[in-house]
Amino acid sequence: MRLVVTLRDWSEKLRFSALGADVFLVHPTGLSGLTPSTFSFEEIQGFIRRCRTEGGFLYVGLNQMIHGKDLPLLETFLQAMVPQPPDAIVAFDLAVLERARAYGLSDRVIYRPVTLNTNSRDIAFFRSAGLKGITLSSTLNPEEWADLARVAAGLEISVFAHGHLDLFYSRRRLLTNHLMRLGIEKREGIQNSEWRLEEETRPGQRLPIWEDDAGTHVFSARKRESFAALRSHSSLLSDAFLDRLFLSDAEYEAALAAYADPRLEAAFWRDFGSGYLPKGAPVPANAGGIRP
C-alpha cells in the first residue's frame, strides 16, 4: 500500500519522502480545486521526470466536476501528459476516463467520486472498463474496504484515509453569495480555509466550508484517521490518500510520519489528537433507509 500526500510545492517532496510518503499528488490549474496550490501542465511534466530519476510516484488529481467549458482544457491536459504519463490520474468525473481512452491513458485512471463506489458489482463494472483503480466511497468503513478489496482482482482499490471528509459539493457560490448579502467583500470567501458552518442545534460542531472556482464544499466537523485500519488492511489496499485541507503543516507531517512508522502514532495523538472521530467508532455514514 502506498501513502499518497498532496504537494503544495515541489520543495515539500524531499521532506515528505523522508517521512514515508510513496506518492505525490499534484493538481493541474483549471481542472482542480480543494488544494493549496495548482500547477501548469509543463510543471507537472517536470515533476514526473524528476520522480522517474529521484524516485516516488506522481499522481495528478482532477477533483472537480467537468462541464462542457472544461473539455477543451481536459483535452489539452491529456495531450500534455502523453510524453511522460503520470503514474495515475485521479479523476472525480468519468469524462476523464472517456477521454483518456483516446490517448491510451485509461489504465492510468483512478476513479475517485468521493461517494458512489460502494459494492462488489460496482468494482466488477469498473474492472471491465479498464481503469487502474477506484477509490471507495468515504461512507464505507474499514471492514468494508477489506471485503471489497478482497474481490477486486486486478482493479486497484484505494481509500480516503485521513482528513476532513468532503460531504457536499455544489456548483453554487454559496459562501460568496452569503458574504455579499452581509456586505463582506466576496473575495474573502474564495480559497479561504478559515470559514466554518455551525448548525443552530449543534453548537460547537463546526463544519469547514470551502469555495473555489469549481464551487463550494462542506466538510465533516471531525477528521477521519485510519492508523489501525491501514495497519490491518495494508496488504489489500493500493493507495491511502492523506488530505491536508484545514490541517496545519505540522499536523499533516506528523500524521504522515505516524502512518509510515507506527511507533510515531502515540506522538501524533499527544500533539494533534483533538478533532478526530473517536477511535474505533463506526463511520457516521452507514445508516440508510433502503429497506423500510
Binding site: 463494472f125 455551525e198 466550508i209 433502503i290
Partner: protein, 395 residues
Amino acid sequence: MRRPELLAPAGDLERLRIALRYGADAVYLGGQPYSLRSRTAVFPLDSIREGVLYAHSLGKKVYVTVNAVFREEDLLGLRDYLDSLDDIGIDGVIVTAPAAVAEASTHPRMSFHLSTQQSVTNLETVRFWAKTGIRRIVLARELDLGEIAEIVAQSPIECEVFIHGGMCSSYSGRCTLSNEMTGRDANRGGCAHSCRWTYSLVRGEDPLLGAPAFSLGAKDLQAVRFIPALCAMGVASLKIEGRMKSPHYVATVVSVYRRLIDDVMAGRLLALDTYDSLLARGENRPTGPGFFEGIPGPEQQLSDPGAPKPSQSFVAIVEGYDPSLGMATVSQRNVFSIGDLLEHFSPAGELRQFRLIDLRDAEGMAIERASHPQEMLRMSVPWPVEPLDMFRKVN
C-alpha cells in the same frame, strides 16, 4: 420539432392517476426497496402492477426508480426485483449504481435510464454511459441552457431534463451531509435535507455577530420561460420533481406544463406570465430558474429559512358526481366552510369559481364546516364535475 415527454412524479396510486389524468405522458415512482424515497411514497409490486395497467390503458408509461447507491448487502435480491419489474411490464428503470447499470443487458425489454444521482454534466460522460446499455440520461441539474443544448445535440442517447421542483444544492449523489448530521444515508433513501437547515457562519473561532443565519438550500426550480428552448433543442423528456408533493401540487404543475408544451408545439404560445400565474396556484415554496441562466446568485438561495412560504388552499378532491342532485362527493383535504368562494380545477384546464351553499356529511346531514381530513362529504356544485377534479379556496 420533437414533442418531449412530460414526466411526472407519483407518490402513490392516487397521485399516479392524477398525474396521468392531468396530462403527464409518463410517471416515475419508487419501488419499496432501492428507491431514494424509501421511507414514504413507495409502491409495493402489486401497486406498481396496478399503476402500470392504468397507465398503459391510457397509452402512457411508468418508470420505476431503483436509484439508491447500493451497499453490498443491498445487492441481494436486486436481480430478482428487476425480474419482477420486467414481468410486470414497466417501461423503464431509473438507476444510479453501476451494479444496476450492469443489469441492462439482461433486461432488454426495460429501458435503463441513468439517474441524475450520477450528476452527468458533460458530453463525454454521456458517451461513457451510452456504451453501457443506458438508453436515457437524466442530466445534472447544474447545467445551463447552452450546456444542455450542446449535450443534446450530440448525445447518442436520449436526454431528460428537470424542469420543476426541489433542487439539491449539492451535485446529486455526491452529498453525504445528511449522513454526517443525522446518520441517515442520503444516497440510500435517508436524506434529511440537512442543506436546508439553519447555519451560522463562523470565521476562525469567531461567529459573525449580528449576521443572519442562512441555509445552504436552493429555491425550487420553475422553468416556464425555458420550455420553448428545451422543446426546440430536442430534449426527450421534461421531468417534474416531487414524489412527496400533494395531489393538488401534482395536478397543478402537470396541467400547466402540459398546456405549455402543447402550446409550444402548436405554435400558439401565450404570454409566459399566463403560465406563471397558473403555476403559482400550486407552489408551496419559493421558485427560481435554477441553473438555466447560469450559476445562480444570492437571490436563488433559501438564504432566510424563516421567510414566509407561499401557501395554497386545496380543499377537496372529487370522488363522484350526482347530476340529478347537482351534488359532488368529495374527499376533504383542507378546512373549508359554507360561504367560501371555491375554484373548480380539472384536467381540462378550465378554472371556474362558485360560492359554496350546500355542504353535507356522509349521512346527508347539513354541516357548516368541513374540518376532518379525508372525510367523505357531499357539496353542491353548479355544473357537472368528474372524479379527480379538485377544488381550492380563493383567498
